[in-house]
């Protein structure tokens, strides 16, 4: 087994638009260590969603991969045909999305759907159900036998997200991609789901969120994305305590979560994300001189 489950190098993706190619990912490099939890933070339009779609081989038709590589356990995913990608999605990769309701078919029972996703395992149905029950216990679902007979609409959002995590773990994925899994949840449920993900020792997780607090709570490593590039990466404790990139500093400063006492105005990030049909050369963030902190090194 390689040291890094996921190894993305110099990935370029652009979308064809009326105004020319929209260069959404411009040389993204990212590694996820085996058994580790890596977080990706960034604001809307930074390319998080495109990155996930590229890993899963689910880029829309107008997207074009301009270069780079995505390796899962050393296997190159770019250029893999549909059959190979499907094999991987059921086996190597699993996704937990923001809206668990959309991940389930509303007219089939939970038990039926979780049995179906184990189609690769040649074991009797009774054994598959037992695996589900065991997994439900592991993700903290009370009364698992009864949940098997339930329909997705009968479960609450928090419960359904647990079921989605159980479903993802059932396939024993080499990489679990969690795309904003707690954004739609209340704060007490968010804390529960984060604790649950944290407790899945040995599962490699790529956690995408715009919530800095959630990333700080869950992840070991963090990559900060801005306008299609990774601007800063490193251990969470180090990046959040001592951000080196001016964008990371601004992002952390704008989050009211870091302030113990309220009042006053929050720092904001003036200006707009650059137009990615004509990205500037050099640093995309290129802040006005006045924003620079002493010691900011140009990236």
């Amino acid at each position: 087994m390689a040291d890094n489950v996921l190894d993305i190098g110099d990935l370029h993706v652009s979308y064809a638009t009326d105004r020319g190619p929209l260069r959404v990912l411009r040389g993204v490099g990212l590694t996820v260590a085996t058994g580790g939890i890596t977080g990706i933070v960034g604001e809307s339009g930074c390319g998080k969603s495109t990155l996930i779609a590229a890993i899963l081989g689910l880029l829309p038709g107008n997207a074009e991969i301009g270069g780079g590589s995505i390796r899962l356990d050393g296997q190159e995913l770019l250029g893999l045909d549909e059959a190979g990608m499907r094999l991987l999605r059921g086996n190597g990769l699993a996704l937990i999305s923001q809206n668990p309701m959309a991940a389930f078919n509303p007219v089939l029972t939970i038990g039926r759907q979780l049995t179906d996703i184990q189609y690769r395992h040649a074991i009797p149905t009774a054994l598959k159900r037992q695996r589900i029950v065991d997994m439900f216990v592991r993700v903290g679902i009370v009364d698992p036998e009864r949940r098997l007979a339930a329909y997705p609409g009968q479960l609450s959002g928090g419960m359904l997200q647990r079921v989605a995590i159980a479903a993802a773990l059932l396939t024993r994925p080499r990489l679990l991609i969690a795309d904003e899994p707690t954004t739609a949840l209340d704060v007490t449920l968010e804390a529960q789901i984060l604790a649950l993900l944290r407790a899945q020792h040995g599962t490699t997780i790529l956690f995408i969120s715009h919530h800095l607090g959630a990333v700080a709570t869950l992840c070991d490593q963090v990559a900060v994305m801005y306008a299609g590039t990774v601007v800063e990466t490193g251990p969470v404790a180090k990046v959040f305590a001592d951000p080196r990139h001016p964008y990371t500093r601004r992002l952390i400063a704008a989050d009211p979560g870091h302030l113990a006492i309220g009042g006053g105005l929050l720092p904001t990030i003036p200006g707009r994300v650059p137009d990615l049909t004509q990205p500037p050369s050099g640093c995309v963030f290129a802040p006005p001189a006045a924003w620079r902190w002493r010691g900011d090194a140009g990236p």
Partner: protein, 349 residues
């Protein structure tokens, strides 16, 4: 629409939960013992079958007050009744008991005429900004809509729209756009401009920063803070984001399953929560500092369903301090400090 269960006649008397003396009751807005009930779905068939199921209690005996120029944060999880309370204040949700008093005028029952004054002097910002803008009207038309509704002379409508848009930091050129052409942050600003058009005394903001990026959230919060300083408007801020609460509110009220559990100054409540639920909420907030990572979730389980409201204290099913008393008797509001009240049999020290 009329339904038999919403009539005041069906309300049982509620245990009195008066705020103790010392809490100012001469505010801009006074909500007293407010109850909202809706009939249970499918109740008609059960009633035809001879059974009479009790209605769902969305809000029970909520008593709150809000002073002019103040920000009161209303905190709670999904299903706690936060949005219902906001809708009741604006007269969009009929209530079956209690009273709402706005600028000394008592508002009860239904009928648009009674709420007309409040709707002129108070405004609401809805959670989904884009969806709360009438899709076929331009931004310029939308922000001046309140003026047109209340027959306020505005001279040049385009100039007035431009003035309102620049007040919230938008270019007057935006006036010709349609809601679907706006980004989330821009739509939010338009709703703020519209809310402020009538120079209201009270703005109810329902999750004003939900779904926004942190930098845009900071801009909206700064905008709201600045407008409060300049115009003296009071905010009822509904949110589940405790970081926002801590940052912008003067006082906070915590709602759990339709009951208020704790009310007090934000600084006092966040520094020293007295209700176990408030404490758990505060502890659940993920910290940006990885060194302060919690050992485990502060609260197990989920908010019980309204269909299955626990007897006694509604929180006892998830409370680690619950005793037999909590399981049977609903706690009363008790003052623990000046202006700080808590409804708990065993408040934290």
């Amino acid at each position: 629409m009329p339904d038999p269960d919403a009539g005041p006649a069906r309300c049982r008397p509620w245990p009195t939960r008066r705020l103790p003396p010392g809490v100012a009751m001469t505010g801009l807005l006074e909500i007293n013992e407010l109850c909202v009930r809706v009939p249970r779905p499918g109740a008609l068939w059960q009633r035809l079958g001879g059974r009479n199921p009790p209605p769902l209690e969305i809000l029970c005996g909520v008593t709150l007050d809000l002073a002019a120029g103040e920000t009161l944060a209303l905190v709670g999880e999904s299903g706690s009744g936060k949005t219902t309370l906001a809708r009741a204040i604006m007269g969009l949700q009929p209530f079956c008991a209690g009273s709402i008093r706005f600028e000394q005028a008592v508002l009860t029952g239904r009928g648009r005429r009674r709420w007309h004054r409040l709707r002129r002097r108070a405004a609401m910002i809805f959670q989904d900004a884009v969806a709360s803008l009438s899709p076929r009207l331009t931004v310029g038309r939308l922000v001046t809509e309140p003026l047109s509704i209340h027959g306020r002379p505005m001279g040049d409508r385009a100039a007035e729209a431009g003035r309102l848009l620049s007040m919230v930091g938008l270019s007057p050129d935006m006036a010709g756009r349609y809601p679907r052409e706006l980004s989330g942050g821009q739509a939010r600003r338009v709703t703020v401009a519209r809310a402020l058009a009538m120079e209201p005394r009270l703005v109810i903001a329902d999750e004003p920063t939900a779904g926004l990026d942190v930098s845009v959230q900071a801009e909206i919060l700064n905008l709201m803070t600045g407008l409060q300083r300049d115009l003296g408007v009071a905010y009822l801020l509904i949110t589940h984001n405790l970081a926002v609460v801590r940052h912008v509110s003067h006082r906070m009220a915590v709602l759990y399953l339709g009951h208020l559990v704790e009310v007090g100054a934000t600084a006092a409540v966040t520094a020293r929560p007295r209700h176990p639920y408030t404490a758990a909420l505060l502890a659940s907030e993920p910290s940006i500092d990885p060194a302060r990572r919690p050992a485990g979730p502060a609260l197990d389980g989920e908010v019980p369903s309204l269909f299955d409201r626990p007897p006694g204290c509604a929180f006892h099913t998830r409370c680690r301090r619950a005793t037999d008393l909590c399981r049977t008797l609903q706690p009363q509001f008790l003052p623990v400090d000046t202006g700080h009240v808590v409804a708990c049999h065993h408040p934290l020290d």
